[in-house]
């Protein structure tokens, strides 16, 4: 295939992955076209977060079978930073604290990492993007002089994930339970940030346990993962059904 014929999508094929000897993903199949956001739901401890971590190359997980193709290219052999430079972005469920490194400094380095050799992130590019991102998130500029996530509240950490997302302009996002621990106001800010990026150049997964976030970021498709497999897929109405009926009926699907 030539470059122009590559499908613009993430394709997950029969993905099996383990932590140590413990299998967690047991054959996940998913296609997420660029331009669409898909929700991944399911009971806790069934592989949702594992799927996110495996996609971005967390070395704690071992892929034992299957493949992940981004725009037709297998990424399994790639380091996490190569995947990031291809346009993948994970909003972490538990963002990590890096003391002594300001958000501003970090964002510049991360933007620079995406540039061709010899090409510099200009001040105007950086500052322009930053202003608009902060406005979208309703955040004061002083935040970028603070150390990365150090001493941040849960809500601030999640907001910071979205700030990075806005600055780095990924093509595929994976949001790992970004809604957990957020109050309604913070949830709206986060959703506002994601929605501002939506369009034909953005695809991805929104991993969540609850319907709540999906009231603000309406997914194109909803998939339910139970025991390491996608057991059902549908439209946004599927999320609503989970919300009203709970997860018991899908657990039965998995054992059926």
């Amino acid at each position: 295939m030539t470059q122009t014929e590559q499908p613009h999508q993430i394709e997950i094929r029969n993905l099996h992955a383990s932590v140590g000897d413990l299998p967690i993903l047991k054959g996940v199949d998913l296609i997420i076209p660029r331009g669409e956001l898909h929700a991944v739901m399911g009971p806790n401890g069934n592989g949702k977060s594992t799927l996110a971590k495996v996609m971005v190359g967390d070395p704690e997980y071992t892929v034992t079978d299957g493949d992940i193709l981004v725009d037709g290219v297998s990424i399994l052999e790639m380091e996490p930073d190569e995947r990031a430079r291809m346009g993948l972005f994970l909003a972490f469920q538990y963002p990590v604290e890096i003391p002594g490194v300001t958000i501003a400094n970090f964002l510049r380095l991360a933007m620079q990492a995406r540039k061709e050799e010899g090409e510099e992130v200009s001040f105007t590019e950086f500052y322009g993007k930053l202003q608009s991102a902060l406005k979208t998130l309703d955040w004061d500029e002083s935040i970028v002089e603070r150390y990365l996530n150090a001493g941040f509240s849960g809500g601030e950490k999640k907001r910071n994930e979205i700030l990075q997302m806005l600055m780095l302009e990924p093509t595929y996002i994976i949001m790992d339970e970004t809604d957990s621990g957020l109050d309604v106001d913070a949830l709206k800010v986060v959703a506002n940030g994601v929605n501002s990026m939506r369009g034909e150049n953005l695809g991805g997964l929104i991993i969540t346990h609850y319907q709540r976030l999906l009231d603000y970021i309406v997914p194109d498709r909803v998939h339910i993962i139970v025991d390491g497999k996608v057991v059902q897929s549908g439209g946004p109405e599927l999320a609503k059904k989970l919300d009203s009926q709970g997860y018991d009926w899908v657990k039965e699907l998995a054992t059926a």
Partner: protein
Amino acid sequence: MTINPEVNDINASYEYGWSNPEKYAVKAPKGLRRDVVEMISKAKDEPQWMLDFRLKALDIFNSKPMPEWGADLSGLNLDEIYYYIKPEGFNTRSWDDVPEDVKNTFERLGIPEAERAALAGVGAQYESEMVYHNLKEEWEKLGVVFLSIEDGLKEYPELFREHFATIVPPEDNKFAAINSAVWSGGSFVYVPKGVKVDIPLQTYFRINAESSGQFERTLIIIDEGAQAHYIEGCTAPSYSSDSFHSGVIEIVVKEGARFRYSTIQNWSHNVYNLVTQRAAVYGNGVMEWVDGNLGSKVTMKYPACYLLEDGARGEVLSIAMAGRGQHQDAGAKIVHFAPHTSGSIVSKSISKDSGRSSYRGLVKIYEGAKYAKTNVECDALLLDEEARTDTYPYIEVEEKTARVGHEATVSKINDDQIMYLQSRGLSKDQAAGLIVRGFIEPIAKELPLEYAVELNRLIELEMEGSVG
């Protein structure tokens, strides 16, 4: 370029390891001998009291055992060291008068360029002598004195003798005694009352010859209400045999004065660096030591603040990086003699491969130093399983109203941090480098920008490929 391949191996990232051919006016025979001490004094045309002082110090040296409480010094053979090497042509005020290869050395180290750009004055020591010493005219006009220590003795004999060896007497420790016997080179600084020198003075120390020792002696007097910042840097060629650096720095910070002494020590990894730095601080004066130890084979160095009068303050910010074959035994001393004195010690160390860093510190509060307080914070970062760190805090408090705080942490770069940064597009090395830079940020931000950049650059160089 002379780089011994064997040394180069442990010194792979050291970029200052080249050397010049040896061309010297005087090279004393090896060993710490009475005739060498006399020869140095004669070469400097010193008054009798200084020769007497040197000879007494030699006796004190001979009577003191090697310290056994710190780093391993068994590899240091004091009989195999050249104690005095005088380069051809020295102590000029113009770079044009510095011999070509020596001048090229300092050009290569970026000294004249830094002088033009951002410094009030510059001194450059090559082997045992200052080859260059110059203070910009605007500061000279205000009465600031910035001379080689030898010229200080000649031109300001009374001021010199009033303070010399009062803060670091030869009895202080065995290496202070060596220095007192064979001292040569270093700076003499006087900042008059109320004068604020707002850009740094800098001295750069370069060892060139193999198996040589450098024993500079610096005396700095900051008069009442005055301010200054002094920076020293140092490098040496990489040799398979050991070299020895043992400086003595004495500082007087008078009432209401403020002084900062910053060191970026980047000796090659065959240098024993055993330095004595002490400051006497008077009423409401502030002394700050910023101490960066990146190079050397073994460093033992504990900058001290003697807080002598009410309200005096002493701070030590210390950063050490220990790689393969290195032991950084660094720390601080804060001694409270008077009421309302305060101190702070922040020590950060990074160890990797078989490198070892130790924090060794003393906080002493004498009875009567009412409401004295000092806070100690030591953080160690270990980059791998082989690296080692230790903490030896000594706290002696005789005063009931005094307060001493001590916090120590040991951490490793954790995989989650690396993964997080990598997931944003930074390579593994970049991620580790950034985490280390963050770790030292509290100290780097206290340095002038170009030195902070240099510190970060040196650490990045040391870090290359260190995270698997």
